[in-house]
Amino acid sequence: MQKTLLGSSLWYGGAALFFAFLLAPLAILIVVSFNPVAMVFPPQGFTLKWYATILDKPDFLQAAWASTILGVATALLSTGLGVLAAIGLQRQRGAARAFVSSLLMSPLFIPAVIVALALFQIIFMMGLVNTIWTLLAAHVVVTLPYPLRNVMAQMEGFDVRLEEAALTVGATPRQALWRVTLPLLKASIIPSLIIVFVLSWNNYTVSIFLANKNWTTLPLQLRAYLQYEYEPFVAAMSTILIVASIVLLLIVDRTVGLGAVRKRD
């Protein structure tokens, strides 16, 4: 199929079209961020002023800070719970294990909007207000399946005898956990931390229900801003987020490989 000239040009043309469809919009948005005039492509000049204006927008800085805190906390909690649960499930067999693991994976199959709606309604009806804690809990719940699955997948190829050997030579169970099991699981724990951070950092649907004024996350702030202003400043802000995503993606790819972090596949 690739032998003929027509065939190979069709082939490369198709590949180019596919990647253009996927990535050209982001590239265009990056270029627009240098446009001094308006959100228009091609740009009518070159400026960096929109990047400088970010520092004049405390709302965005605060939102970025909120998203970072929330993302880090979610990553630590969700991955921690996932690792513990995976270790706990490791020795289990049969119906109990199947039930518990499918329970813990179920947030993958339930639309996140329903989880967020449910939490919102309980908080509202109990007369409480949204706090960072409910937001954090919701982020943990919807991200929990990812670390759990990563760690459980790694444990499939895990030699339990290593842990038993440590216990035989006199390690306490706690020492065996910290010195043997957890170091062995590092290859799934680190990508889990990163993937959960990214999922939390990017989350919109859950946050919109549960955020409050003090904890407006970056995606919410960006969308709120878009309702009133449509200027290249948002493109500049977006460019920073795109570059940050590329950097994180490359770090993961160069350290542990991307096979470990595929989302929802």
Partner: protein
């Protein structure tokens, strides 16, 4: 130390912040709401009756959400399959980079990605410039704030997931099978259609169910690209809960969306089982 106890923290958190709220939403959907939105503690089917007898909710909301999500899924699967096929046939080093490029959008904030489509599809955006420049249309087309824009947005979101699902399956198919078919006289196209395509059905099914699941609960894409004109279930649930303060009816919308998802997963299970048989037959042959 009993290691099985380590699963408890996760179960407790999930129980408190996931299982209990879900049960509560189902219960709430059977309760009434007063004129100012206060919840009345008496069982009623009124919310469901109201939803299912109002053509606005059935046609403009539920069926539109399902229809647009389904259309977007079909496009995502076709485009995603082509992408996965190209990647699967590329040289190993190119392949690594291509996968990286496919995963990149998944890591970028959805508001940012949707915003990029607003720039591209805008009245003076590149797509309209090309269309006008080529003389395909005299005036810029309204590409934004309508159903087409929402479908394009959902396809953009879902394609990487489809690529990754299909790619995994395509890679597991031995190339020799296709070559064998061509040795015995099949054209490349026939070899693809009779060998590779049927064997990749599990990937197509998994990709479809992922794409539909993501699309049917779309939130950001319809609010930004639909410009308030294209109503979606998730958005309606949000607005009913926060703007109208009618919690029971918001719960009803949520439960109906949940039922749609469950039915889709059921169809998927059924499709996997019935598609599994011919595929194994080919493998055995």
């Amino acid at each position: 130390m009993k290691t099985s106890a380590l699963v408890l923290p996760a179960v407790v958190i999930l129980g408190a912040f996931f299982v209990v709220p879900l049960i509560w939403v189902v219960i709430l959907s059977f309760l009434g709401a007063g004129p100012t939105g206060e919840v009345q503690h008496a069982f009623t089917l009124g919310n469901y009756v109201r939803f299912l007898t109002d053509s606005y909710y059935v046609n403009d909301l539920l069926l539109r959400t399902i229809r647009l999500a389904a259309i977007a899924t079909v496009f995502s699967v076709v485009i995603g399959y082509l992408g996965a096929f190209v990647i699967a046939r590329a040289a190993p080093t190119t392949q690594t980079w291509m996968i990286l490029l496919v995963m990149l959008p998944l890591w970028v904030n959805l508001v940012v990605r949707t915003l990029s489509l607003m720039v591209v599809l805008g009245r003076n955006g590149p797509v309209n410039q090309i269309l006008v420049g080529l003389g395909i249309t005299a005036r810029p087309l309204p590409l934004l704030y309508n159903e087409t824009a929402v479908v394009i947005g959902m396809v953009q979101v879902a394609v990487p997931f489809v690529v990754l699902s299909v790619f995994g399956v395509l890679q597991a198919i031995p190339r020799q099978l296709e070559q064998a078919a061509m040795t015995v006289g099949a054209t490349p196209l026939a070899a693809f259609r009779r060998v590779t395509l049927p064997l990749s059905v599990p990937g197509i099914l998994a990709g479809s169910v992922l794409a539909f699941g993501i699309n049917v609960e779309s939130f950001v894409v319809p609010i930004l690209l639909g410009g308030g004109r294209v109503r979606f279930m998730s958005v309606a649930a949000y607005e009913t809960a926060t703007v109208s303060n009618n919690l029971p009816f918001a719960a009803t919308i949520g439960v109906i969306l949940l039922i749609v998802t469950m039915v889709m997963l059921g169809v998927y299970q059924w499709a996997v089982r019935s598609a599994g048989r011919p595929a194994t037959a080919i493998q055995a042959a």
